[in-house]
Amino acid sequence: MHKKTIVVGLAGNPNSGKTTIFNALTGSRQKVANWSGVTVEKREGRLSYKGYNIIIVDLPGTYSLSSFSIEEIVARDFIIGSHFRRSQHGEGRKSRFSGRRRHHNHSHHAQFFEEYTHQPADHPDVIINVVDAGNLERNLYLTTQLIEMNARIVMALNMYDEAETKGFNINTDTLSTLLGMDIVKTIATKSIGIDKLLDAVINVCLKKSPKTRHLHINYGADLEKEIKNIQETIWSDEEIGQKYSTRWLAMRLIEGDPDAEKKLKSFTNYNNIKKQVQESKTEIEKKFHDSIDTVLTDMRYGFITGAIRESVTRTKAKRKDLSEKIDKFVTNRYLAFPILIVFLWLLFQLTFSLGKYPMDWIEKGVSLISALFEKQIPEGPLKDLLIDGIIGGVGGVIVFLPNILILFMGISFMEDTGYMARAAFKMDKIMHTMGLHGKSFISLVMGFGCNVPAIMATRSLESTRDRILTILINPFMSCSARLPVYVLFAGTFFHKYAGAVIASLYFIGVIFAFISAKLFRAVFFKGESTPFVMELPPYRMPTLKTTLLHMWDRGSVYLKKVGGIILVFSIIIWVLSAYPKTDNNEEYNLKIEKITADYKANRNILISRHGEVPEELNMLKDEYLSKKEQLQLEMKSEQMKNTFIGKFGKIILPVIKPLGFNWQMGISLTTGFIAKEIVVSTMGVLYHASESEEEGALIKPLNQVLKKKEFGITPLIAYTFLLFVLLYVPCLGTVVVMGREAGWSWALFSIVYQIILAWIVCFLFYNAGLLLGFR
């Protein structure tokens, strides 16, 4: 038998336990994507219950549905998806559940309608409104808006145990009658009430729920009169009147919803409607001496206060507010920052120090697999592609996974306990002077480890604007991959000041992050101010399930959405760095054979002259081996110079020449796009030097070679080069994550911006240095 499908939307305030309910309902059967066209996360889960397929869509957590932030628009459009199919009186509520959708053949109306009609799963049959029972009054505000949208609602009265300790006694029967919807008490963290919630959902779909009725919130005589006036004007075009809830439309118009207005433009009586709306507005504002928004909000809260008065009794709290006690320490004037630093230090250490072990295992595993293939597969381009391109690429993707999992375990812990909000509370003053949000801080600190998980961590910022801004400046935080480059150059050219040089780079990065943040805020997000009305939820114990699901979530998003793209790009870049091939193996093999023969001959001569003297023989051998390695490096270097990337590195020489860079630096910077640490290994090849600085290495280590006069690298050029590495471009992984999280145009912008910035800064620095007589 074909199972019936019910689509359920999950709506609620932030911190109402919505995600916990979602997890309790769906377990790990969830998929995470973005809402079409925007970078707001859409989570969808499925379950089977009593013969029904239930699809649950987690809507963004919002306090209201009328402020028109992207999150609110997404949630509202989803809910309206069902609404616009309904007539005013709740008849013809035709959904997939009860029958087939109605067809619309009037073209312009169909278009109006179409925009709210996405894929099938975008029409909820029922909305589960998750409400924090301990904070009923404010949570019910969203409920009133859902009621106005004619949504069919089941309320999950969540965390009612917490509410009881707070001293609230909620009579759900009365409240249910007053609000016209089923109410189920739940404690999502303990999975209590989840089945009942599903039963209620099915009942509502079967229209077997006696409590569910269509309710009009009474706005009082004055407002009702004006709403009626507008409704009547709308009715003058019968078509709209028949299709949409005119009351709802009237409400939207009077509240000045630009979306509703825009879409009504195509109707014949648009001008009349607009005029009537304006008149009504003026009338109301005159009567109440206040803006229409405030009047409406007041009325809704009036309705809520009335409902609460009749259904909630309050006794003394059973225990003192624990949160305030904890906060005495956590946000204490003197302890706040030390505690924050300890938390961040722990998070950083866990993510990057503990994460190093699994990363090493992954790297070892990858090289093991490569070695295995090395033996099995015959020589040829396919082998190179498989080993260097694909296996190397996959390794490069999954190597970040431990970092991401651990970081999100930490972030999930901080969010679920409520500490995240406190951290933002403490840091907001500093971050706000830069035009950022307190929560940006966590992501930026993580950027010192690796920008990839750090950018993913911006998901905890509610406003898209703050998120994009934080993402864009993240690459200025010197990630750990840049450290090897810093260490090499600072150690080589600045000796005992190496530490100061490295510290200065970290510092300069932060400065540029803040300058850029200010600049972006002024240029791209002008005049838009996000209010910092951030809830400080009570401290709560996180559950293992939520934490693990959160980790799993991020991990799978990374592997599926980010990993794939990184893999494709790294294969492309591998091809560019491996082709065209230079066939100089033969030539060099001949050379190597020759010196091998020479070595053997010399060795024999030596033995015949002096007998087997170990010191002499070892010296000879060392000399031979170093020559051999030198030749091999020359071979590789020649090959690299001829590849696309090598050629590119040489082509850009005129561009980087004014900064004092040579062609080796050009190629290294180009390959550094894959990952910043590759700058060092590329230089090793190009300068025919060993990367390791161990004593007694066979060939000269890179730090000695770099100093050679013939390469012309002065301390001034070295520092300029470091500045360039700090600023020039986010690495491939970072760009891809940016693309996913902020959109590809922002990722592209970031590349262009940073390259230009790096060039200008380095040019000014280098020339100023020359003028001042530095070398």
Binding site: E137, H432, V533, M534
Partner: protein, 235 residues
């Protein structure tokens, strides 16, 4: 004509403001304790012992106190008269700042301490008249006194101190007004300032049983009236 009882004596005491402080504090201490010691005076005025001793010697020379080294301090009759004068001035100024200007009593007391010595007797008299007039008018429930009260009691939320409760009077037009009112910031709602962030911006407040943080800039747009503690009634 309103008849003002201006009997109060605001004549100058011919003492320096420091000396006035000493006399006043000896008087206040002697009301609280049986005997007044030098260290009590030092403590209450937050002045070092040797300076106190020096000052006391001067006062003794003027015949305002009886004082023995390392012993108790007593005001003489003329000392008492001066103390009375100084104290009267202080307390009527405190009344003015608290009862009329609606400044919190503790802070009103502090302000009074700062200005009491510098006001001329003429200014004192005029202020005294004003207080009397105001009191008689407000006891007759004149409308203008109520309006004045409302005006003077209004504060922006950013001026409320940690731990104090106030009630919202209105919210100024601002880009955040709508968001704030949707989150429950409405006329007549009680709001308690829980704490200021370590760097003094954002502020944590409690409204409708939940805690929320606001930037000072946003808090400035919320106009409130302090609620006298103990009457935390919800509408």
């Amino acid at each position: 004509m309103i008849k003002i009882d201006a009997d109060c004596n605001f004549e100058s005491t011919d003492l320096s403001s420091n000396m006035e402080d000493y006399v006043e504090s000896i008087e206040l201490l002697s009301r609280k304790k049986k005997v007044v010691r030098v260290k009590d005076i030092a403590k209450s005025l937050n002045i070092k012992m040797p300076s106190v001793t020096a000052a006391l010697q001067k006062l003794e020379e003027k015949g305002l106190i009886n004082y023995e080294r390392y012993g108790y301090v007593d005001l003489t009759e003329s000392g008492k008269a001066i103390a009375e004068k100084v104290y009267n001035r202080h307390s009527f100024l405190t009344d003015f700042f608290h009862d009329v200007l609606k400044i919190d009593r503790k802070r009103a007391d502090k302000v009074a301490c700062r200005v009491e010595h510098d006001l001329t007797s003429e200014a004192c008299k005029q202020i005294f008249k004003l207080i009397q007039f105001y009191k008689s008018e407000s006891s007759e429930n004149r409308e203008w006194t109520e309006r004045l009260n409302d005006l003077l009691e209004q504060r922006s939320l950013s001026e409320i101190r940690e731990g104090d409760t106030s009630v919202i009077i209105f919210i100024n037009e601002s880009p955040y007004k709508k968001r704030l009112s949707e989150m429950g910031f409405r006329k007549g709602e009680n709001i308690r300032v829980i704490k200021y962030a370590p760097l003094k911006d954002p502020i944590e407040v409690k409204i409708k049983d939940y805690n929320i943080s606001l930037r000072v800039e946003e808090a400035k747009s919320i106009i409130v009236k302090p609620v006298i503690n103990g009457t935390d009634e919800e509408s």
